[in-house]
Amino acid sequence: MEEIGKNESIRVMIDEDGTVVAEGDIDLAGGPLLDTAILRLEGSKPVVIDLAAVEFIDSSGLRSLLAASRRAEGRGTTVVLRRPSSGVLRLLGITGTTEQFQIEGGQESES
């Protein structure tokens, strides 16, 4: 597991399978570190982001994921959100952006 970076909000890693793993909060401080990891992996394959350990996300964090989705669409591929936490699922539902991603696993949304 390679650590891409961490700060007071988030820790972002890339595991042996090339999956971005985020732990903590994806907010104004956490989003840029997530961007760094995603940009390193962008290519012809889908970018997979494991969000099981994400405790919080707001719209600034969601913008990082949406930007990655738009770039992926431009390459003819997609962004996979693996095991999104209930908070992530809820924000996707609130903003009507669930369809922008391929969801793998995950907790039941509380919304």
Partner: protein, 136 residues
């Protein structure tokens, strides 16, 4: 960062002790500080865990918008709990406010979902935000 309570300490809830104000420098790491402060104050009321989660999202949206739209000055927040609601007011100096920005539209959609009412205005070279969450 400064924090103050407007009245002398009591042993009651925040509804009894009055509003709390928090002043944050306009940097990204302070969003988390505002979120933790808001959730701590909200937890002193009769709010549910889901309601407190909504408060955390709301205050995060408010601080983020003010940091990104303001003129790099401090963000001031005021938290007030009454018997029926939890109110957050937030403000920062700014030169303008573009209500048509895409990121503002996304933040507004989120605030619509997690609050009972909210508003944003540009008055006297300041952005003013206010959200109210009812306490069931």
């Amino acid at each position: 960062m400064t924090m103050s309570e407007s009245e002398t300490p009591t042993q009651g809830t925040t509804a009894a002790s009055g509003p709390v104000t928090l002043t944050l420098p306009p940097i990204a790491s302070m969003v988390r500080v505002g979120r933790l402060t808001a959730s701590s104050i909200a937890s002193l009321s009769d709010m549910t865990i889901d309601d407190i989660d909504d408060i955390k999202i709301a205050v995060s949206e408010m601080i983020t918008l003010l940091i990104q739209s303001g003129s790099r000055a401090n963000v001031t927040l005021r938290f007030e709990t009454t018997s029926g609601s939890f109110t957050i007011e937030a403000t920062t100096p700014a030169t303008s406010l573009d209500l048509g920005r895409n990121d503002l539209a996304l933040a507004t959609a989120v605030l619509d979902a997690v609050s009972d009412s909210h508003e944003v205005a540009f008055v006297d070279d300041r952005i003013l935000m206010r959200m109210v969450k009812a306490i069931a």
